[in-house]
């Protein structure tokens, strides 16, 4: 049957219309609703970017001509390294801001709607608990990484633009910084970092959302209190710190697993962020264990939301 025949065959009744409504639409609008409610998702990283940029401009204005002169005496690779410091710093600050945003977002994701009783409104709409939780999970897993990517890249472009204005006033070639930045490679590296972090942190978001749905109040304490208490207990009782290192590994381990780690000159492990190592990351058991735990946690969040009522 051609679409024309379907249209001509009979007037569309409600049931047909609802079948024609793409299943993704409730999901799309659920995500939109999360952004409306949680504007900190983009405001916080933007604010951090603005502060960092402002700091860099003020700092660059103070840059003594002498220091600028020293830079010109360095060899090319050292020069590139020195030049990338502002970018690395800005990127790091924005990443940390995004992480903190995700922590607070996840802790409020299922509690706020119970607090303000709006859960009764959301549940009066034909949106399943699975769709709702998927929309909420997609915020730290997909949306925030995308926003972070855009903001960091924009920040980098602003840094480059500023450098073209400021460098000549210090007797340096205007394109020096632009030349030091392989833009495509930087973008790829950033995208890789964000994907790696999202996958690695997935169980953290699952845990925080589970606590968010479960705790009647003080979600923050319930989320972080028990693991901390456990690690303190472990330290005192057995003088070991497995729990602590497990948590530490889950928060920061992604980078050392996803990038090539070289032994530095003083025996310290040195992280080289330009050396992506996806293969090594793929074969890290921590990644797959983490994803399985995340899947189980999110399944529990979906199951739990069915039973949720206002508090």
């Amino acid at each position: 049957m051609s679409p024309q025949e379907i249209v001509n065959g009979a007037p569309l009744d409600g049931a047909t219309q609802s079948r024609l409504l793409p299943r993704t639409r409730p999901f799309y609008w659920s995500v939109r609703r999360e952004i409306w409610e949680n504007r900190s998702i983009y405001i916080a990283p933007l604010a951090v970017a603005a502060v960092v940029l402002f700091g860099l401009v003020v700092g660059a204005a103070h840059l003594p001509t002498k220091a600028a002169h020293i830079i010109t005496t360095l060899d090319a690779s050292r020069q590139a390294q020195a030049m990338s410091i502002p970018y690395d710093f800005a990127a790091f600050a924005i990443l940390v801001a995004s992480f903190i945003v995700c922590v607070f977002y996840s802790l409020g994701a299922l509690q706020n709607e119970r607090r303000d009783r709006s859960i009764l409104f959301w549940k009066s709409m034909p949106v399943s608990d699975l769709t709702t939780v998927m929309a909420k999970a997609s915020v730290p897993l997909v949306l925030v990484p995308l926003v972070t990517f855009a903001i960091i890249m924009a920040t980098l472009l602003v840094i480059l633009a500023i450098s073209m204005i400021i460098l000549p006033t210090r007797g340096l070639p205007a394109t020096m910084l632009v030349a030091a930045f392989p833009l495509g490679r930087t973008m790829l590296g950033l995208a890789y970092t964000l994907v790696v972090l999202a996958l690695w942190h997935a169980p953290i978001w699952g845990w925080l959302m589970l606590v968010s749905g479960w705790a009647r109040r003080a979600a923050f304490l319930w989320a972080f209190g028990p693991p901390l208490a456990l690690s303190v207990f472990e330290k005192l009782a057995f003088n070991t710190s497995y729990v602590w290192s497990l948590m530490h590994y889950r928060v920061t381990g992604a980078l050392s697993e996803a990038f090539d780690v070289k032994s530095g000159h003083n025996g310290m492990a040195q992280l080289d962020l330009s050396q992506m190592d996806p293969l090594k990351f793929m074969f890290t058991p921590g990644l797959w264990v983490g994803l399985m735990v995340a899947a189980a946690l999110f399944a529990a969040v979906v199951w739990q939301r069915r039973y949720r009522t206002p508090i």
Partner: protein, 291 residues
């Protein structure tokens, strides 16, 4: 087809039985008033019907199991709960966008037309609206949804008289037709008496009265009896007796009105009076005095 069909519907919270094996049968096209004291189990019953809580027993709403199929059911069911539940951070325009986005049966133009008659601006935040306006907004959203069942749980709680009156008028004039079913709970029974087609009293998890309004008007009669005829009237077995200005008003169930007319003018009692007669003596938990 029955809109709501329940057999042995039961819900217990720990040792407290909120609903004790009730049977419900609500036909399409009815307006049912579910009346009961606080803690009687009204909201529990509505939660089960709306798929908001689990239950024991059989329950079918529009042929679906609400607990398993809540999201599918919500295409045909709307509800307004006892308090304003629209998220306070939302803008009116966002509420319209959202419902239009997720609800296949939402008619945005209709909602906007309804809002145009109010003082609500689409750019307003819900938090900036008065309680009456939030209810108007919610009603505008709900009425623009072509639903088969509308559930109202204390929809006018905390509203002033003007809003309350307008609420029910709008509901009846602009929304209700005989393909829809409405279930409403309220304490302000006098306001809904004239719109109901069916009446149900619920107390302590049991249904203590279930009749149509026609049956209600036929069965129940009230008469003010002069003191000298009181003993005689009492022989007819009144359901309830109360004093007004020193005169006794007796409420009868199923007694021939012609016989009652011998004592004075016979009237149909208000729902509130019948409620007091049927439940008043037994509603101790609501007053905090356990029997």
């Amino acid at each position: 087809m029955a809109c709501i069909e329940a057999h042995g519907l039961r819900k217990a919270y720990g040792a407290t039985v909120a609903l004790d094996s009730i049977d419900l049968h609500v036909e399409t096209g009815r307006i049912l008033g579910l009346i009961g004291p606080n803690g009687a189990g009204k909201t529990t019953a509505l939660s089960a019907i709306l798929g908001l809580s689990s239950y024991e027993g059989d329950l079918k709403v529009l042929g679906r199991d609400p607990w398993r199929d809540r999201d599918a059911l919500m295409r045909d069911v709307c509800f307004i709960a006892d308090v304003a539940v629209l998220p306070r951070w939302m803008r009116v325009s966002q509420a319209l966008d959202y419902v239009a986005g997720v609800h296949p049966r939402f008619d945005r133009a209709k909602a906007e037309a309804f809002l145009a008659k109010t003082d609500i601006k689409t750019t307003s935040l819900v938090r900036a609206l008065s309680k009456g306006m939030v209810t108007q907004l919610h009603l505008a959203l709900i009425m623009a949804i072509d639903a088969k069942l509308l559930v109202l749980d204390e929809p006018t709680l905390g509203l002033d008289i003007l809003y309350r009156k307008e609420f029910y008028d709008t509901l009846l004039n602009d929304y209700f037709d005989h393909s829809r079913t409405i279930v409403v709970t309220t304490h302000q029974v006098e306001e809904v008496q004239h719109i109901l087609t069916d009446l149900m009293f619920i107390n302590r998890g049991h249904i203590v009265l279930d009749c149509s309004m026609e049956a209600f008007e036929q069965r129940y009669a009230e008469v003010m009896v002069p003191p000298d005829q009181l003993a005689q009237a009492r022989l007819l077995g009144p359901l309830h007796e109360r004093q007004v200005f020193g005169r006794s008003i007796l409420l009868f169930d199923g007694v021939d009105r012609k016989r009652l007319a011998e004592f004075g003018e016979v009237r149909t009692p208000s729902i509130a009076d019948l409620f007091v007669a049927v439940i008043g003596a037994d509603a101790a938990p609501a007053k905090g005095v356990a029997a």
